[in-house]
Symmetry: C2
Subunit: 252 residues, 2 copies
């Protein structure tokens, strides 16, 4: 905020103060909230474009903004538009029907939503707690992201081979399959987890290695869908990458 | 909008209609505007994350949204936050002081703002008109993006070699240098334009070739700043890439 805008603000607050102390307090709160909203919207953009990188928690001043974003119409709308762009690309592709045209999906915050977990765990304002998150995973109750399920169904019908590539551990295969099925996902060609030997690798390395393996098997990776840039960047890269929104956590 | 929400809407409009036709009309307009804002914000995110790709013009329903975004506080705030993230990275880097630590900038909508041109040319709702845009370039009157100038100055002081890599043509060198100087930029190490032999190449190819050339000369490309993904993607890639906002036009 430049000095000129500060002066304007003080002038404005002075006028309001002449009214009543209650009005002044209310106005100051509104001004602060508007300034937080502007900043937090810019912060969210910097997360979604990967300008931020390596961030650990949602900034304290953005805790209400992120909660509102995730709980309200905006997250659903953003996901809808990503899916519309994905479908526009899918419909433009000529499928070879040799069973090698692959579309890769990440799982968490791409196919499944962990919003019920984050809603009672501070929506990204607290440092990731692996123990409590794994307990939630074991419950296998994460719902589908509605728009992603719509995309998934159309891709299956169009003849894409669907490959799920998740940072979850091989030990979580059973609960993950149960959760995916319960949420409405089915008929994937392959579901790839981290082995113990992959632990400690950055996700971008692990996922790139697996994409290389898939290409070596003959797959053409036409698209990748993920909520983390580490789902999408690295080599080989999909022909098209679709970044799903996620202002709640970052995985390197 | 799901069928349930449609029903709710009609119920709501029915209640309002009982009041007066004017109120109904006003309410319908407000509902439509809110729905446009929600959609256009999601559309803008899909542009900034490169999910949209290959788009030609701002969707008609988003013309007012984009105009407000570019003219109001949001564009400035988004650019400010990109610059803050860029500076956080710049300050974390150990400069070798051998004159080989490079930071690459695109020019249009990264260092210079063409908002005065787009403000009288439909803010991205019209197909790009090369003739009228080149006339604007020849005037050399594009102002600096304030936040970018702040970044530029600190990078210079820190010892980064600043390289400008633009899609403009070599024939525009003189007016571009005049414009950059007039806007406050100075002391760049190199200013690279397209030669006639580069015309017709996608920007992502042209810019990658030039980055390869810079690396061959011994430069370490620590960062790239650009408003187009074609400034940032392709090989070799900078260690860090910073996507500046631009919902007005797309360059492949």
């Amino acid at each position: 905020m430049g000095p000129f805008r500060f002066l304007l603000l003080f002038f404005f607050l002075g006028v309001v103060a002449a009214e009543s102390p209650q009005t002044l307090l209310r106005t100051m709160t509104q001004v602060a909230a508007a300034s937080d909203d502007l900043y937090c919207d810019s912060w969210r953009l910097s997360v979604e474009t990967n300008n931020a990188r390596f961030w650990r928690t949602v900034p304290f001043r953005c805790r209400e903004f992120v909660q509102e974003y995730m709980s309200g119409a905006r997250y659903a709308s953003d996901t809808d538009v990503v899916v519309d762009e994905s479908l526009a690309f899918a419909r433009s592709v000529q499928i070879a029907n040799d069973g090698n045209d692959a579309w890769i999906f990440d799982v968490d915050e791409t196919l499944l939503s962990n919003v019920p977990y984050y809603a009672i765990n501070g929506f990204g304002t607290k440092v990731f707690n692996e123990t409590s998150f794994n307990e939630w995973v074991d419950e296998a109750r994460a719902p589908a992201l509605a728009a992603s399920l719509r995309l998934y169904e159309e891709l299956l019908v169009s003849g894409f081979q669907i490959i799920l590539l998740t940072g979850r551990n091989e030990a979580q295969r059973k609960v993950t399959m149960e959760n995916l099925s319960h949420a409405g996902y089915h008929s994937w060609r392959s579901l790839i987890f981290r082995f113990d030997s992959d632990m400690g690798k950055p996700a971008v390395v692990f996922k790139s290695e697996r994409r290389a393996g898939l290409e070596a098997q003959g797959f053409r990776i036409l698209a990748s869908s993920g909520d983390q840039w580490s789902d999408l960047l690295g080599f080989p890269m999909a022909q098209r990458s679709f970044k799903h929104p996620n202002p709640v956590y970052y995985i390197d």
